[in-house]
């Protein structure tokens, strides 16, 4: 990331961009920001006022009492003090609640934006970005982006603390205000230096944390391989190196920051000592009282707050800005063109024809399909046969509009695939895979992802797909699948996925080796039943029995159609015959 470049000018512009983002958040939530800021300013006013009242308690109550005076009016001053303390606490609630709310709301809207992108982003974007990074966008990045908002209201209120404190000090004695005016810039300087000094180790620390996590993930994912290769020691060494970097960054942060950190901690105390010294001379000169000195000491205790809060704000601003810019990159991901928002054609009812004419698909400059043409009549069952990389799955993707074609045309039911409305395409064309993705939800929800299928359709689909085992699951069709539910075998998963495809009563059914893990006997009965359905079926298969079942075979090699016809016809093609024989051998092994 370019943010790793930490030249001073780059930093300044980073801060500027960060402030712009923060200003944007404030514009999005003006009322909550106003609420929290009111709390912060109210707190500043009440906190300073409390020091004034404390001074009065000392002068009007405590000192006379120590002098033996018994006739003292305490009521008024205590009531005032009580009211001020209560209002100060109320202001704290307002400030903290508002700040938290502001942070939460902005995080929510950032997350919603990411969710919005993930749903319509090109599949290629989701495939090529590591899952860990995508997850970081929706949580860690959104969190980091809003981190400066937590201290924001108080940072604005900090200005009020400074102003009110100076007024309070000036009202006692201008010499006290002068001491404060010397002290405040020193504290800001120490704070700034602290941030600058720990910048590099803080950055290294974040990088080292990410590295440690990557290693742990990979190493444990491959635990069995690590064991069987006896690579434990090498893996521990890899982790040791990465975590040593982490440790060093930790230590460096502590050591480098030590000087300014302690300066920051002790400067207010030095300020108070100076204040007491000045105050003593002023009291001696009769220009000040003991109560006013106490008031001054208490005000100085407040002076550390603005500096500290501004420190939090700026130290979270840089990582926040970097995180926000990562999110901005996500927001810029355009909608998948394959979603074809302006397509409006609607597929007719009943089985659908396929016409593929000279379709070329290039991916990363490699031609996957090099001009494929073939037709399938409505209601026909066709098998695509070809070795790995021949383009079978890609043809399915073209038909399901999951990949862009470079040239040529593909039609379903007489309509160009690109012109079919998303909803129509999805409800009339169904695709089932060899390794289906099932969601960690109930079986029912998995069968009816779009929540549109009739109950009878789901039942029928389960029967056709030979997925009767679903009834025997602990909660039947309502059984939860995945980590917190049942784990199904490969064959069972395939049958659930097949039922999912059938539940929408498609006009075109694309089966990408979708029954490979199903017991051969069961597979036969499934295929027999499929033939009874009023739908066009295209299958990719490696089992001879499946191929034989098709009305016609389209034989592909290296992205081209080599031959088509019945299985028996094609046995005359030498390479086809060789391939099918290989299937036969593999099948005996299966």
């Amino acid at each position: 990331m370019s943010s790793d470049v930490q030249s001073p000018t780059a930093q300044v512009s980073l801060v500027r961009r960060g402030l712009r983002h923060v200003a944007g958040y404030v514009r999005d939530e003006p009322w909550i920001t106003a609420l929290a800021t009111t709390g912060a300013v109210g707190f500043a006013a009440m906190a300073v006022l409390a020091t004034v009242v404390l001074g009065r308690i000392i002068d009007d109550v405590v000192t006379p009492l120590a002098d033996g005076n018994k006739d003292i009016d305490t009521q008024t001053v205590l009531i005032v003090f009580g009211v001020v303390a209560f209002m100060r606490a109320a202001a704290v609630v307002l400030r903290r609640f508002g700040a938290g709310l502001l942070q939460g709301r902005i995080k929510r809207s950032l997350q919603m934006g990411v969710a919005d992108r993930f749903v319509t982003a090109p599949l290629e974007y989701l495939r090529s970005t590591p899952t860990g990074r995508l997850l970081a966008h929706i949580d860690a990045d959104a969190q980091a982006s809003t981190e400066p908002l937590a201290p924001l209201p108080f940072s604005i209120g900090a200005v009020a603390v400074l102003v009110f404190s100076l007024i309070s000090l000036l009202s006692i004695d201008r010499w006290l205000a002068i001491v404060a005016l010397v002290l405040i810039p020193l504290m800001f300087f120490a704070q700034r230096m602290y941030t600058i000094v720990i910048e590099e180790p803080a950055l290294t620390l974040r990088r080292a944390l990410a590295e440690v996590s990557t290693i742990a993930h990979e190493s444990f994912d491959g635990a069995i391989v690590v064991k069987t290769l006896g690579r434990e020691a090498a893996e521990v060494e890899r982790m040791r190196v990465a975590s040593a970097d982490l440790t060093q960054a930790h230590v460096r942060m502590g050591t480098r920051g030590a000087l300014f950190r302690e300066a920051l901690e002790s400067l207010p105390t030095f300020g108070v000592i100076a204040l007491v010294a000045v105050g003593a001379f002023r009291i001696d000169a009769g220009a000040m009282t003991a109560g006013q000195l106490v008031q001054g000491v208490a005000v100085f205790a407040l002076l550390a707050l603005p500096v500290r809060v501004a420190g939090y704000f700026f130290s979270s601003l840089l990582p926040g800005t970097v995180a926000r810019e990562r999110l901005d990159a996500v927001y810029l991901v355009a909608d998948d063109v394959l979603l074809a928002h302006d397509a409006t054609e609607v597929l007719q009812e009943g089985p659908l024809a396929i016409e593929i004419d000279d379709v070329v698909v290039n991916a990363e400059d490699v031609a996957i399909l090099q001009g494929v043409s073939f037709r399938v009549a409505p209601g026909e069952t066709v098998a695509l046969v070809g070795s790995t990389g021949s383009g079978k799955s890609t043809i399915f993707r073209v038909l399901a509009r999951l990949i862009e074609t470079t040239s040529g045309t593909a039609r379903i039911g007489g309509l160009l695939v690109d012109s079919i409305a998303e909803e129509s395409l999805r409800s009339r064309v169904a695709l089932a895979h060899q390794e289906p993705f099932l969601f960690a939800e109930t079986v029912q929800q998995n069968l009816d992802l779009a929540n549109t299928a009739a109950e009878s359709a789901v039942d029928g689909a389960l029967t056709t797909a030979a997925a009767g085992f679903v009834d025997d699951l602990p909660q039947g069709i309502e059984t939860l699948m995945g980590e917190r539910g049942v784990t199904l075998s490969g064959g069972q998963r395939q049958r659930v996925a097949l039922a999912r495809a059938l539940a929408r009563r498609p006009g075109l059914l694309l089966l990408d080796d979708a029954t490979s893990a199903v017991d051969p006997v069961v597979e036969q009965s499934i295929l027999d039943q499929l033939r009874q359905l009023d739908t066009t079926v295209v299958v990719v298969a490696h089992r001879l029995s499946t191929i034989r079942l098709a009305d016609r075979v389209v034989y592909l090699d290296a992205g081209r159609v080599v031959a088509q016809g019945t299985h028996e016809d094609l046995l005359n093609v030498t390479s086809y015959e060789a391939l099918v024989r290989a299937y036969e051998l593999a099948e005996e092994g299966a």
Binding site: F86, F97, L209, I273, Q434, A582
Partner: protein
Amino acid sequence: MTAPLKPVVQIHGEEMAAFKTLRRGLARTPSLRMGLGWSLVLAAVSTAGRLAIPFLTQAVLALFEDDTFDRTRLWGYIIGSAFLVLFVAVASGWARVRMVRSAAGALQDLRLQGFTRVHQLSLADHNEERRGQLVSRVTSDIDTLARFLEWGALAWIVDAMLLLGVLITMFVYSWQLALVSIGAYLLALPLLAFLQKRQAKAYDLHRTRVGDVLGQTSETVAGAETIRSYGSGAQAHQQMQSAIGAEYNAKVATVRFFSVLFAITDLFSGVAVIGVTITLVTWGPFGLSGSELVAFYLLLALLQQPIAEMTEVFDQTQIALAGWKKILQLLDREPAVQESTSGKVLPTGPLEIVADGVGFEYLAGTPVLQDVSVVIPAGTDVAIVGETGSGKTTFARLLVRLADPTSGEIRLSNVALQDCTSDSRRSAVRMVPQDGFLFDTSVIQNIRYGRDDASDDEINEVLARLGLDRWVDRLPDGLATQVGERGERLSVGERQLVALARAALADPGLLVLDEATSSVDPETEQMLATAIQELASERTTVAIAHRLSTAERADLILVFAAGRLVETGSHDQLVTADGNYAQLHRSWERTVRS
């Protein structure tokens, strides 16, 4: 395919209290105790620094209670306290650096101990559901602990010390006023405790909701193609939105407590001042001078900050201790095997296998394998068959010492497997697991993991011998092709090819193969078959056969059923014997060859 591996969970069922966790944690990582020492030093000096101000103010104001204003003494006080504060700054800076140093070192130790232990755990603990937890043990749990040690833990120590220092000083001034001050805060205590508990729950819920958002998102991302091809994008979108909405609601609940808790301590600091003043006016001044009373009021102001901070670090403390406890429990787990130090080594060349009354159980009382005895001559090509749960995978795993038999013994060419050194075992015995995991690097580097010092030429030679050079030529960048996370840029079959090449490079005397169950396309299947045949020729090979065709070709077949070895012999012998194997074989023939 695999034996039912029940995770061992009940061993550490009992809850560890916070202090027990602390004590055990310190015992585990002694360098932390050093860090604790430094933070006590830090707390002591910083308390001294804080108490300096009330004392100074009192001393200076006391000067005015005398008849004459003594400037020399004033300067003495001022310069004295300036030096004290300077000393405090230097000392606490120094202590803090030392503390960070020992804590960082301790955390690194802990991380490496945990990481090492995870790799020593039995395979039963490495299932997919637990993997995420194992990763958390050596990452987020330790990182949380690190943040806690540098802020929360330090806050507890510093605040406790400051609180104690202030209270003792208050009592020295006036026990009556000290009691009133404590009383005011005690009034707030039940309220604080109540809110604290609710807050902990709210934070807990929030963490769960964050997990839900991540879970929902990862489904949407991983299942993107399915979602797209079923047009269920709107549903997925809506589910993510409601997860995000739920996280926000949980966040608002935490914010409520976060804002009120702090305000309460703030409010009661005001109550304390009022209480003290009323007591003073009614019964005072308890023999205190004006300057001493001023000092008391300044002490009172010091009381609030540590109390407020303690309520803030409470939640962080709970999370950190919970994570720490889990790390300690991980470290308590027994390694799956204890490596021998006897120095015995296995001979080179094909190995003879003797299993002598071998039994195994993951959980006491539920044997997975019972009384398996067999002699396999060196160089034999063995197939193990049996249904899921028959114990065949477990037996194979015992052969490569992924675990030790709970009874009986396995000897390889007259050396007990438990006695030979790990280096010797690792070069002479190899397993090609079913799991086609590859490291995220190039194909050649993945093959080289078979033997680190292998040259490029040796690797090319091995590939040619196995007939895989053709395959390599077809890869986009040849041997330099990057395989991606977990090897996912290669197909399942291709990953197995890499695993075979890796095993061939090591040239072991015993090779254990776990056949893949997932279907592989015929071409790759053919390459795999050729490579396996080539590999089997110069060593003892044991294959966990999921296809009976593998068994048909083997010299010797071991048939497992319900944890026992029930039949041994060649294919022809077993078919003639008409037992378990013959039955399996018949039903298989019916389905495939009909």
